[in-house]
């Protein structure tokens, strides 16, 4: 006869008893459903954007699994120089320029706050922390942007969100954790504060900088509300506003808006799904890179902040 402890040692994993068959089946079904709910809509959107026109029309607007080959007409027509192409360029500009500025400002501020023993350092850190607690409010924020003359300028979308206090805290706590010996040694060798930051701080923090860079990047790419609030001129619209107008509100894109001359426009649904895909694809491309690092980045902020 086996003793209890022997039986347990064979059926235990990490201190927990092995799950029974029922439990495993229930969990498998549960997780499959959750993953399907996330993935299937994307599959439908991709399929519809790529399905040939007659299949989309026949299916009544939505294709789940295209059976008659792949057709890039919808993509060709939105990328041939109309409203959507313009918006794509604007979003690209806002994302690249915005992310560069945001990372630069966040890292320099984070570095300055991470150096101990400077006059006023604690007070400045407190200033940053307190700003996390309150929200300046919609109307006052609008008045400030207006007062700075930024209305209807892409800078209104870029500048106000270029320093996230949360990211400053994340970067700062990473800098604080760098080994002091290296920094002290460099300082004895006569390195200036700027050189310490440039040649020691930054190279050792590539991972965390990549994470906040990607967070800022995704934020700028997705920026919708500030763009709606501050940009009146539809020529300056980023992709999210085009998406809102032509996909969510269902305004039809005519041949002229598409930049087509003379050809028949593809079905509206195909066009809409292609616009949707174009705004999703950049995120899908950077996602694997963020995914590797973000849990760590988020936790640094949450635990030490």
């Amino acid at each position: 006869m086996k003793t209890t402890s022997q039986r347990q040692s064979r059926t235990m994993v990490g201190g927990m008893p092995m799950p029974g068959v029922t439990e495993r089946a229930v969990k498998a079904v549960f997780l499959t459903i959750i993953c399907a709910i996330v993935v299937l809509p994307f599959v439908g959107v991709i399929s519809t954007s790529l399905a040939p026109a007659e299949e989309v029309t026949k299916a009544g607007g939505f294709v789940m699994f295209p059976t008659r080959g792949i057709d890039f007409t919808a993509y060709r027509s939105i990328l041939s120089g109309g409203t959507v192409t313009q918006a794509l360029l604007v979003s690209g500009f806002v994302t690249v320029v915005g992310t560069t500025i945001a990372v630069a400002l966040t890292c320099t501020l984070g570095w300055a706050l991470s150096r101990r023993g400077t006059v006023g350092n604690r007070a400045l850190l407190l200033l940053v922390l307190i700003s996390l607690l309150f929200n300046p409010g919609l109307i006052p924020s609008y008045l400030v942007v207006q007062q700075f003359g930024l209305l209807n300028s892409l800078w209104a979308v870029i500048v106000p969100v270029s320093v996230s206090a949360f990211n400053v805290i994340v970067v700062r706590s990473f800098f604080v954790g760098l080994p002091n010996e290296i920094i002290d040694a460099a300082r004895i060798d006569g390195a200036s504060e700027w050189k310490l930051f440039r040649y020691i701080g930054l190279p050792l923090s590539k991972a965390v900088i990549a994470v906040i860079g990607l967070f800022y990047g995704v934020g700028y790419w997705n920026s919708f509300f500030n763009a709606m609030l501050y940009l009146n001129d539809s020529a300056k619209w980023p992709l999210q506003l085009v998406l809102r107008t032509y996909v969510v509100n269902g305004v039809e894109l005519g041949g002229q808006d598409l930049g087509l001359s003379g050809e028949a426009a593809p079905p509206q649904t195909s066009i809409q799904m292609a616009i949707l895909m174009i705004s999703v694809v950049p995120i899908l491309c950077v996602y694997p890179f963020i995914q590797r690092h973000f849990a760590k980045g988020v936790l640094t902020g949450a635990v030490k902040g």
Partner: protein, 290 residues
């Protein structure tokens, strides 16, 4: 070296602290062409909308509170359940795989989420197409006043449930394995272990997040609602943030909108501070000490 801090600090001062000054238009009859300097003072007149019980304002308050309540009851516990299931998986690879998939929607903008929901649930969307082709009658969900709260809730669930599991999973991975072993020796099965070891391990983070949620209880689904308000109308969908936007930016009632925003911020701050106090009374860490 403080020179390095200057550009970043200027941005924080300009766009976080400086706007606080703009709240004085709550006490003015603000006219954009006169500016804050020259507009006339009006005392507490802008606040009378709030305290005299303007029906539109009360509607926004009601919708806000109902949505917050629904979200606390349904949206808040969902990631805890998912995290518990993921935590109990034996295969690290499988867990990683599922996590990779369910984090994804968090990185989509609200515009994308709303667009995707329209494509799935709309009149000619995925589900209704399927229903029609199989001889069932289609469901009217998008633009349906009665289904609006359910729609908002399912959008929030879809977008952020996966992402919210991150924190819970991190906390769960810190739980001491020997606690499980000890409880197993005492004869605890998997359910008892979950109840007596896993859940108590989660308690501090659950309380912390509830406190933060309380501070946000007057803020629900701003972008999400702005995007869909046209389809269902203001009655069903107006919340405090959309009220401020519609009245101030679109309607030109700057003073009233600013007053509502100011009261909202003040109440939110008071809620966080008091929730934190309560947490301390209960012997928990809370957000901060002090």
């Amino acid at each position: 070296m403080l020179l390095l801090a200057v550009p970043g600090l200027l941005i924080i001062l300009a766009f976080q602290y400086y706007p606080l000054w703009g709240n004085i238009i709550s006490f003015q009859d603000y006219q954009p062409y006169l500016g804050v300097g020259k507009s006339l003072w009006s005392g507490f007149q802008n606040f009378s909308v709030i305290f005299s019980g303007d029906p539109e304002f009360l509607n926004a308050v009601k919708n806000t509170l109902i949505l917050t309540l629904i979200q606390s009851v349904i949206v808040f516990p969902a990631p805890i359940v998912v995290a518990l299931v993921l935590h109990s998986l034996l295969s690290n690879k499988l867990r990683q795989f599922v996590q990779t998939i369910i984090y994804l929607p968090h990185f989509m903008s609200w515009v994308i989420v709303v667009a995707i929901f329209q494509q799935v649930l709309g009149g000619t969307g995925m589900i209704n197409n399927w229903l029609r082709s199989h001889g069932y009658s289609p469901m009217h969900i998008i633009g349906n006043v009665e289904a609006f709260r359910a729609l908002l809730t399912s959008q929030v669930l879809w977008k952020d449930t996966g992402w919210a599991t991150i924190l819970f999973l991190a906390v769960l991975s810190q739980i001491d394995r020997s606690l499980y072993e000890a409880s197993a020796v005492d004869g605890a099965g998997r359910w008892r272990q979950t109840w007596h070891v896993t859940l108590p391990g989660l308690k501090p983070i659950i309380i912390l997040l509830l406190i933060l949620k309380l501070g946000d209880s007057l803020t629900v689904g701003f972008e999400q609602i702005i995007l869909q308000q046209q389809a269902v109308g203001v009655d069903a969908s107006d919340v405090l943030d959309t009220y401020v936007y519609n009245n101030g930016i679109l309607g030109g009632n700057w003073g009233v909108a600013a007053a509502v925003g100011l009261v909202k911020s003040a109440v939110a701050l008071a809620l966080v501070l008091s929730a934190n106090k309560i947490a301390h009374r209960l012997g928990e860490e809370g957000v901060y000490r002090g």
